[in-house]
Each structure stands twice: as structure tokens, then as C-alpha cells.
């Protein structure tokens, strides 16, 4: 009978319909992940290899120094701070992999000391989906300051502030108007380029005379040099990393741009750059966002040098590791403030009260609900024959101050 057949088919189809696919959602982020009774785990992804490794290694060193100092003093609410670092080689794709691993596998409580703009740009959407914070990235990119106010906590001044200072000083100290830009062809370079353009427009009321670009992680800067030279600039502001920028300066000198003033933003990395420019007698200036690490009058610098020595006896003090040190100290201070039963929301609250100031020794970092940047200070250094000296203003030539 046909009825029976229908019954069989009906039953069969209901039973054979594909079993419900088990949902493969990632494990939910716990707001106290990475915290045990004795330890708080902190994650970092930075360039530890490649052309930008000088930045990542020093940043890591500074953070380690700060954490060691804090741990030696008993930790935060009885917990030791431990750092896990991963190498992304300054490539955004690797950053993404690292961030996933740090959050989902290592289960770190917070992320600190990322290096670079394109890498941070890649990391941000992932971090923003979680309740973790992205603290003290080694970049002054504007997008980290205008949006994601609940995800990013910055320590340093922005590139826009650095480039503004450069253009202002060029005009005031040297009366220079013809300015060109060398920039890395990624989000870091574009951000800096926009900063310079805006500053030149504001201070001089003019446009850049020329600009050149090079590919990240290469030394192919000579085409850019040809482009820039065409504009006959008096000063070249570079938004890049130390090796290509140093190469650029060397070649520029070679082809006769000895009178040109070269300026670089903090991210370039003044210490490794100085090492590259040992024979350079031209005018090379680098802006900084932390005080000079050889200012022995500053308690911060004294503590930093002590802590650095404790971590690595051979390490030389530098701006980058000092910034790393400040980031490490800031994280410890915020954890201290958030209390013993800290979780992601109380950690964020530690920064986002109406107005919160963290005193890292004599350095003050101030945050508010709509302000996620701690410091606005920009400092000026000069590289001359491979030596770094803090300066108050730009000088005319040969290391001597310009006289009127």
C-alpha cells in the first residue's frame, strides 16, 4: 500500500536530515583572562626581526625593565606581571596571526607595546571586538587617537604634533619654507604625510615642494630621492624607519644635498639611525616623544636606567626602550588603580574616569573620557657624527648655533 511507503519516506527524511552543525564560535573572551592569583599575563606583538627590529626589540626591553622593577617590588596587588612577546616583522598579516594567538591561545589580559602604524591598524579591528585594551603602541598615527577610544590607550604625542613642531621650528629657527617629505608607502607614511601637509599649510600657507615614497621593509629609496631632489627643498621631513631613512640621507649627501636639513619623526628610531650616520656632519634632527634618556636629573630616567641595567647589563639607554619602560610602568600603575579584583571593565575605567593622571615619576600622563593620549610633549634631538644630543632649537650648520 502506498500509505506505508509515504510513512517510511517521511520518517526517513526527518531522521536523515543533516545533523545540526555544531557552532564553531571562538571561545568567549573572559573579562579576567590572563589573571591568576599569582600572575597577570601581558601580550606584545612587535617587529623583533627585519628592518624595524631595532624598534620592537627596544620597546620590549623597556617593558621588560619596567615589569621586572614592578615585580621586584612585590608586583601589583600581589601578582607578578609577565610579558609574552611575538614577532610580526613589521608585517600586518603576521600581526593579525599574533594577535589571535595572544588573545585566544595565550589568553593575555591586555596588549601592550605594539610597534608601527600598519600593524596597529591591522590589530585594532580584532582587539576592538574584544574587551581587551591596546596600550602604548609605538606609533603616533591619528586614527588611534580619534576613534577606538575604548580600545586604545596611547602614551606618546601624535605624528601630527611631531610634524607640526618640525615645521614650526624650521620656520622659526632657520626661516625654511621649502619643505619636502619622504614617506613609507603605508598607513604610517600617509598619516605622517598628512600631518606635514597640514602643518605646512598652517605655518607657511604653502604646499610641499616635492615628495617621494618607498616600499616598507626595503631600502629602495633612491627613486624617491630623485623625486624629492627635483623640488629643490631646503628641508626633508621623513616618515619612515631608520634604515631606509639613513640610506636616503647618505645618498642625498652623496648627490650634493649637503645643505639640506633632514628631519625624522620619533618612530624612525634615533639610536639605530645614529649608528648608521656615524660619518654624517649634516643637519639631521629627530623629534622625540619621551624625554632624553641621558637626562640624569629626571627621576624617571634614573629609575629607567637602573631597571634597564637590571634586565640587560649591556643594553644602552635609548628613547625607544625608555618609551617601552613608560608603557610598562603605566600598565602597572593602571592595574594597581583598578584594584585586586581587576577585570577588563575596571581596567578601562582606571583610564577613563572624568580625568585621570598617572604620575610615572616626574612624567605625567593624563587621560579623560574623550582623550586617550597621555602625553603631548615633543622633544628635539640632533644626530651629528653618530651622536645624539638633545637640542632646544634647530642650529644653522656644523653643530654650532646659528648667530644673527
Amino acid at each position: 500500500m502506498s500509505i506505508c511507503r509515504v510513512v517510511i519516506l517521511l520518517v526517513a527524511t526527518t531522521l536523515l536530515s543533516p545533523a545540526r552543525a555544531e557552532t564553531d564560535k571562538p571561545a568567549a573572551i573572559e573579562s579576567r583572562q590572563g589573571i591568576t592569583d599569582s600572575e597577570i599575563l601581558i601580550g606584545q606583538t612587535a617587529a623583533l626581526t627585519g628592518v624595524a627590529k631595532g624598534l620592537g626589540i627596544n620597546m620590549r626591553l623597556g617593558i621588560l625593565a619596567a615589569l621586572k622593577e614592578v615585580n621586584a617590588a612585590g608586583g601589583v596587588h600581589g601578582r607578578k606581571l609577565r610579558l609574552v612577546s611575538k614577532d610580526d616583522g613589521y608585517e600586518p598579516e603576521q600581526t593579525i596571526t599574533n594577535i589571535h594567538e595572544l588573545i585566544d591561545k595565550e589568553k593575555v589580559f591586555t596588549l601592550v607595546g605594539g610597534v608601527g602604524t600598519p600593524t596597529s591598524k591591522a590589530a585594532l579591528p580584532i582587539v576592538a571586538k574584544t574587551s581587551l585594551l591596546y596600550i602604548g603602541p609605538f606609533t603616533g598615527a591619528s586614527f588611534l587617537r580619534t576613534s577606538h577610544l575604548d580600545t586604545v590607550i596611547n602614551v606618546r604625542a601624535s605624528y601630527a604634533q611631531e610634524t607640526k613642531e618640525m615645521v614650526t621650528r624650521l620656520r622659526k629657527d632657520l626661516n625654511i619654507r621649502r619643505i619636502a617629505v619622504l614617506y613609507q608607502n603605508d598607513s604610517y607614511g600617509f598619516d605622517g604625510l598628512r600631518g606635514v601637509q597640514a602643518a605646512v599649510q598652517e605655518v607657511e600657507g604653502t604646499k610641499l615642494v616635492s615628495s617621494g615614497t618607498y616600499r616598507r621593509n626595503t631600502l629602495a629609496v633612491k627613486t624617491a630621492l630623485l623625486d624629492i631632489k627635483r623640488g629643490k627643498p631646503q628641508a626633508v621631513i621623513s616618515i619612515g624607519s631608520y634604515l631606509p631613512v639613513a640610506t636616503f640621507i647618505k645618498w642625498a649627501n652623496k648627490i650634493g644635498m649637503r645643505a639640506t636639513v633632514f628631519m625624522a619623526v620619533s618612530f624612525t628610531g634615533v639610536t639605530p639611525m645614529a649608528a648608521q650616520l656615524r660619518n654624517n656632519r649634516g643637519r639631521v634632527f629627530v623629534t622625540q616623544v619621551v624625554p632624553p634618556p641621558d637626562n640624569l636629573k629626571s627621576p624617571l630616567v634614573i629609575n629607567y636606567r637602573k631597571a634597564l641595567k637590571a634586565v640587560d647589563a649591556r643594553a644602552q639607554p635609548g628613547f625607544i626602550s625608555l618609551e617601552g619602560y613608560v608603557v610598562g610602568r603605566l600598565v602597572a600603575a593602571a592595574l594597581q588603580k583598578a584594584g585586586a579584583d581587576v577585570d577588563h571593565s575596571s581596567f578601562l575605567k582606571a583610564f577613563k574616569a572624568v580625568r585621570t593622571t598617572f604620575a610615572i615619576d616626574d612624567l605625567r600622563l593624563t587621560y579623560a573620557k574623550d582623550d586617550n593620549q597621555g602625553s603631548d610633549s615633543v622633544f628635539l634631538t640632533r644626530i651629528y657624527r653618530g651622536k645624539i644630543t638633545p637640542v632646544q632649537r634647530l642650529v644653522a650648520r656644523g653643530g654650532k648655533k646659528r648667530k644673527k
Partner: protein, 731 residues
């Protein structure tokens, strides 16, 4: 009594009959249903007890085998090892169940040898199915493994390509710079001359580097593309393209002059090549990307074969299952036939019975309910509606013998009564109308009589006026004589007095004084005669003026104060004439602003006369009634006042007395003609009525005001009232 004897088919009874018919039908139907249900239940029970377990097993077998076949497809589409493991677990569960089902089948023992053969067949099939699934699983794992490798290779190829590209980019950058500037290294002392740096070799080299860069990139892209293809046929052409790209790259690579760079670039190049084609010394190295893709598609083909085989098995299995089920059913075929027959039979009976029920219901509804009950109620309601509209004449038709009949009958009785009542009401209404008309007639007659009386009175008054004027005229002449001669006599007396005064010394003193005394008396008498003669003249003049009422429309401009004085005087004298005791204090107060007023003096004097006379009558009346009260001083006040604005100046005359006043209920009637409170011989009841008319004719107003003591009449007249009158009369 006759009703009781007669059989009565009441509505209740009718409804019971209808209900009874319905209930009987329903009971019959349900009885039939119950019988057939019982029968079917028996049949069903039979089938259930005998054949259900067999069917369950057969169905179970079908299910499990189909499930296994479906799972096979899932194995093929699994992307990760985890997924394969999960599917495998499901396969195991279903395999277990299939095993159980087969065991049950064995236990039931189908008895027939044929069935045993079927059982063996089933077992074989399930074994095949499971072994196929195992093969599929293995193949799925293999595919996943290869896919993983391909993915890693692709990623690696892209990384290598990027690294290579970075070298080349830098190298090309250097080359560009050299072409432009002649500088090659920082240690160089002098830049190369333009002829050297721009010779063909340098440019050709530059071009080779560009080609190398693009080809190596292309090779990596081809690998990425190959990893994505869904069609195995595309592998070969892609492979050829890759081969071409790497061959070109190799040729270009050899041209790199910098040995160190060449070495580095070569390493990258070799890596990319190896990813695509495997080791250089082996033909079709399976670790090459294209080989791996081939392997993937081979595995896919293999999986398809397994799947096809599986499907075949399942098809046969389901055929077998079906057959088994059919056999089980044929075993229960007899009962099934009875079952089917019973169903058909009962169905027909049910159908017939329903049709009959419907027809009966329609008939009953039509005859009993619609025609008999509703139809009659409707006609009754129509009749009631007609009656409510007032048509009560048509008698009702009465049918049947139930409550409606009673209602009709009662309604008929009601209708007859109502009809009678309607007729009676009509008569009453006519009578009432007649009466009203009679009353109206009577009042009209009374009014007519009054008018007649007024006319007679007016006639009388007119003739009296004529008579009075005649008499007055006649009297005027003798009065003239009296006054004139009294004057003359007075002059004569004066002459005598003068004479006496002259000759008086000649007369004795006594006589002289006597004569002088007589002369003085005579003189006094003459004075009195003249004064009273003058007074009589004035009275006659007033009478004449008053009686000349017929000259309506004759207006003159007169000095209002004097006009009032003479009129009041006339009235006062009139009263004094009729009663010697009469005494009244008349207080006048005239507004000085009013000088001349244009009016009809006869008419207005008549009004004033009337008002003053009335006031005199009132105070006299009061004085007489309160004779004991000696303090009462009858008084009449007469005041004039200029009122109204400049456009319409008016004069107001107030005539007030301190008489007994007018009761409030009479105030409205005062101006009616023939209304009077005086004795019939004294008043005509026309005075105020006529006065009112006169003032109205002058466009003025005559008002009555009740006071605490006495009455006040107010006359308001326009200063030029007469002008209007003249114009009217001349028109």
C-alpha cells in the same frame, strides 16, 4: 372551552417536532458510525497485532541505510579533520543501529526461506556500505592533508615572491638611480659619465630586471590561482603558464650582475619553482603544487566512485525493503480488503444518510419554520407596522391554531379598540375646535360693541364740543361788553374823582369824604368786574381751544411755558367748578432752556388737561378717603426738562401727584380704551387711550411710572414734533 377540546399545534410542539426529527437523524447517523467504527477497530487491531513489528523493522532498515548513504556525501564535503571525525562518529551510530535492526529481523524469523535470502542480502549490502564509507573516510583525510599542504605552499610562495620582489625592487631602484645620476655605490668617488650609464647594456639590464620582477610575481599568482580552482581540467594549462613564467624568470635571473644578489634572488626563485613543480631533478614530484592539485582531483574522483557505489547499494536496499514491506502487507491483505470494503460501505451509508438528513432538514425548515412560523410572524409584524403608521381600518386575517394565532387575535381586538378610540378622538378634537372658535367670536363681538360705544361717545363729545363752542361764542360778546364797559366805567370814575378833587372844597367835608368813599368802592367793584370778566373770557377761550379738536394737523410754534400754564389753569378751574372744596397745591418747575415748541396745541393741551385732571381726581380721591388725616396736602408737580441729544432735542413733561397711586396689576391696562376706575358717570375710559394715541402721533412717548406715593406720567415730545405732523398732513 371549544379551544380546549380542539387539538392545538403550539409553537413549542412544532419546535419539539423539528428537534425530534433532527435528534433522531443524528442518533441514527452516530449509531451507524459507532457500528462501523467498532468493526474497523476490530480490523485495525488484527492488523496491528499481526504485522506492525515487521513493518517497524523494515522501516528502520530503510532509514538507517538511507542515513548512511547521506552521511557519505558529508564525508566528501568535510574540510577539516575534526569534521571528518565528527561524521565518522555519526556513521558508527547508524551502523550500530542497522546492525540491531538486522538482528531483530533475524529474531522475528520471517519463516519463509525467501525471507531468509532477503536477510542475507541485507547483511551483505550493509557490509558493502560500511566498507565504502571507510574508504571514503580515508580519502577525505587524504584530501584534507593535501589541501593543507597546498594552503601552506601557497602562503609560502606568496611570501617568497614578496621577498624576491623586495630584492628586485631595491635592485631596480638602484638601477634607476644609476641611470639618472651615474652613482652606483656610496664608496664610488665619481659618478659614471652619461655615455657609460646610458649605453644599451644598462638599459637592457634594467628591462630584464623589470621582466624578472613581473614574471616571478606572476608565477606566485598562478600558484595562488591553482590552489583555488574547482575544475581539474584547468590544472594543465595553469601548469604550463607557470612553467613559462619560471623559465623566463630563470633566464632573467642569470643576467643579474651582482653575484650576492643573484644568489639571494636565485634562492627565492628556486623556492617558488619548487613549490609549483617539486624538486627540479624529479619528474612530476608529488610535492609540487600542481601534482598535489592533481592528487586532490583524483581523490575527488575516487570519492565520487564510492558515493555512486553507495547510492547503488542504497537503492537496491530500499527496493528490497519495499519488497519486504509489500510482502508483509500481502500477508495482511485479506484483512486489509475487509477494512477497505467496510470503509467504502460505511462511507456510502454515511453519504446517503447525510443527504437524506439535509433534504429533511430543508423540507422541515421550509414548511414548518419558514412558511408556517416565520411567514406568519412576518405578516403579523407587517400588520403591526401598518397600524403604527395609523392605518387601523384593515382587519387582520387569522390562520392556524397556535401562539401566533393568539397574538393575531389579540392584535385584532386591540386594532378594533384602537380604531374606536381613534374615531372618538376625532370627534372630541372637532368639538374643542368649535368651542375655541365660539370664544373667539364672543370676544370679537365684545370688541365690536366697545368700538361702537366709543364711536357713540366720540360723536357725543363732538356734538358737545360744537354746542360748547357755540355757547362760548355767544357768551364772548356779552363778556366783551362787560370788560370793556367796566374799563370805561373805571375811567369815568377816575374823571369823577378828579372833578371832586378840584371842586371838593365846595362840598361839606362829610359829604366829600362819603362821596370819595363811594367812588373808591365803585372803583374797586369796577376792578373786580373787569378782572372776573377777563377770567371768564379766558375760560371761554380755553373751552374754545379744547373743543376745536377736529382741526388735526394745525401746528403752531408756541411758547411752551405759557401754553402749559393756560392748560393747567383750565384743568384746575374745571375742577374748582365741579367742587368748591377742591384744593390742590400745584408746583411747577419749567426748564428755562425750553422756549418755543412746534406742536398741535389742541391735541397736546387735551393730553395735558387729561393728565392734570386725572392727577386732580387722584389727590381729591385720596383726600376724601383720608379725611381724618389733616396733614395730607394734595399736591401736583409739573416739571419740564430738555432731554435728548442735539440731533433730536426733546421735551419731557412729568405730571406727578401724591394720590393713592395705581395698583401694579392695572398698569398695563391703563392705556386701553374704555378702561376706567372712575364711576360710570364721571369717566369714559377714553382719556388716556386718546392721549396715548396723540403722543404717538407726535412721535413721542407716554409712560406711566409708579411711585412710592402717587403716580407719575411722563410725556416725551420731540421739539419739532409739529413739523412732522404738518408734513404728514400736507402729504
Amino acid at each position: 372551552m371549544a379551544d380546549k377540546k380542539k387539538f392545538r399545534f403550539s409553537i413549542g410542539l412544532q419546535l419539539y417536532v423539528i428537534l425530534g426529527v433532527f435528534v433522531a437523524l443524528i442518533m441514527l447517523t452516530s449509531l451507524l458510525g459507532r457500528v462501523s467504527l467498532l468493526q474497523m477497530n476490530d480490523i485495525q487491531k488484527n492488523i496491528t497485532e499481526q504485522h506492525i513489528p515487521e513493518l517497524t523493522i523494515a522501516i528502520g532498515m530503510g532509514q538507517e541505510s538511507v542515513a548512511l548513504a547521506n552521511i557519505a556525501a558529508k564525508l566528501r564535503s568535510a574540510n577539516t579533520e575534526d569534521e571528518v571525525r565528527k561524521v565518522r562518529a555519526t556513521v558508527d551510530t547508524h551502523a550500530e543501529r542497522l546492525d540491531e535492526v538486522l538482528q531483530q529481523l533475524e529474531e522475528i524469523n520471517l519463516g519463509a526461506d525467501a525471507n531468509m535470502i532477503v536477510l542475507t542480502k541485507f547483511k551483505d549490502f550493509s557490509k558493502d556500505l560500511l566498507s565504502n564509507l571507510n574508504l571514503l573516510e580515508k580519502s577525505a583525510y587524504a584530501t584534507i592533508g593535501i589541501r593543507k599542504k597546498i594552503k601552506a605552499s601557497t602562503e609560502k610562495a606568496l611570501l617568497e615572491a614578496r621577498a624576491l620582489d623586495n630584492f628586485l625592487l631595491t635592485h631596480i631602484d638602484d638601477q634607476t638611480f644609476f641611470l639618472n645620476t651615474g652613482w652606483k655605490s656610496l664608496t664610488q668617488k665619481k659618478p659614471a659619465s652619461p655615455t657609460r650609464r646610458l649605453q644599451g647594456d644598462t638599459v637592457g639590464y634594467y628591462r630584464s630586471m623589470m621582466t624578472l620582477r613581473s614574471r616571478s610575481q606572476r608565477a606566485a599568482n598562478l600558484l595562488a590561482e591553482a590552489a583555488q580552482i574547482a575544475n581539474g581540467d584547468l590544472i594543465q594549462p595553469l601548469r604550463e603558464r607557470f612553467q613559462a613564467a619560471v623559465d623566463t624568470s630563470k633566464r632573467m635571473l642569470q643576467r643579474i650582475t651582482d653575484k650576492g644578489l643573484q644568489q639571494k634572488a636565485r634562492e627565492r626563485y628556486e623556492a617558488i619553482r619548487a613549490i609549483g613543480l617539486g624538486a627540479a631533478d624529479k619528474q612530476d614530484d608529488p610535492s609540487g603544487m600542481f601534482q598535489m592539485m592533481e592528487a586532490v582531483f583524483q581523490e575527488r574522483d575516487r570519492q565520487s566512485t564510492y558515493l555512486a557505489s553507495n547510492n547503488g547499494i542504497v537503492q537496491v536496499l530500499s527496493q528490497q525493503t519495499e519488497k519486504l514491506i509489500e510482502e508483509i502487507q500481502s500477508a495482511s491483505g485479506g484483512t486489509s480488503d475487509i477494512f477497505a470494503q467496510a470503509i467504502t460501505h460505511r462511507r456510502n451509508e454515511f453519504f446517503a444518510l447525510s443527504i437524506i438528513s439535509v433534504i429533511i432538514a430543508i423540507l422541515v425548515g421550509n414548511f414548518l419554520v419558514r412558511r408556517n412560523l416565520i411567514g406568519r410572524i412576518k405578516s403579523l409584524s407587517n400588520t403591526m407596522m401598518t397600524m403604527s403608521r395609523g392605518n387601523l381600518r384593515t382587519p387582520l386575517t387569522i390562520r392556524g391554531n397556535d401562539e401566533i394565532t393568539d397574538m393575531s387575535r389579540s392584535l385584532e381586538v386591540f386594532r378594533q379598540h384602537a380604531y374606536e378610540a381613534q374615531k372618538l378622538e376625532l370627534v372630541e378634537r372637532l368639538a374643542k375646535e368649535n368651542q375655541e372658535k365660539n370664544v373667539e367670536l364672543e370676544s370679537t363681538i365684545t370688541k365690536l360693541k366697545n368700538a361702537q360705544q366709543q364711536m357713540i361717545m366720540q360723536e357725543k363729545l363732538a356734538s358737545l364740543g360744537q354746542l360748547t363752542s357755540g355757547i362760548a361764542h355767544e357768551i364772548k360778546n356779552p363778556l366783551n361788553f362787560i370788560t370793556n364797559f367796566s374799563l370805561v366805567s373805571r375811567e369815568l370814575l377816575e374823571d369823577i374823582s378828579r372833578e371832586i378833587a378840584e371842586v371838593g372844597d365846595k362840598l361839606p367835608a362829610d359829604n366829600k369824604s362819603f362821596v370819595e368813599e363811594v367812588l373808591r368802592d365803585l372803583y374797586g367793584n369796577m376792578e373786580k368786574i373787569n378782572f372776573h370778566g377777563q377770567r371768564a373770557n379766558d375760560i371761554v377761550k380755553g373751552m374754545l381751544q379744547h373743543s376745536r379738536g377736529g382741526d388735526a394737523g394745525a401746528t403752531e410754534e408756541i411758547v411752551f411755558g405759557r401754553f402749559l400754564d393756560s392748560t393747567i389753569n383750565l384743568a384746575y378751574q374745571g375742577k374748582r367748578t365741579s367742587s368748591k372744596e377742591f384744593n390742590v397745591d400745584i408746583k411747577k418747575s419749567y426748564d428755562e432752556q425750553i422756549d418755543k415748541v412746534k406742536l398741535n396745541p389742541q391735541d397736546i393741551s387735551r393730553v395735558i388737561l387729561n393728565l392734570v385732571t386725572n392727577a386732580c381726581d387722584a389727590v381729591e380721591d385720596k383726600r376724601r378717603r383720608d379725611d381724618t388725616d389733616n396733614d395730607y396736602q394734595p399736591t401736583i408737580w409739573i416739571e419740564t426738562k430738555k432731554i435728548g441729544d442735539d440731533g433730536h432735542p426733546m421735551v419731557e413733561v412729568r405730571v406727578r401727584d401724591n394720590g393713592p397711586g395705581i395698583p401694579e396689576k392695572l398698569t398695563k391696562k391703563v392705556f386701553d380704551p374704555f378702561f376706567t376706575t372712575k364711576p360710570t358717570d364721571k369717566g369714559t375710559g377714553l382719556g388716556l387711550s386718546l392721549s396715548h394715541d396723540i403722543i404717538a402721533k407726535h412721535r413721542g412717548v407716554l409712560k406711566l411710572q409708579r411711585l412710592e406715593e402717587g403716580t407719575e406720567f411722563i410725556v416725551e415730545l420731540p421739539l419739532d414734533a409739529g413739523l412732522e405732523l404738518t408734513e404728514q398732513s400736507s402729504a
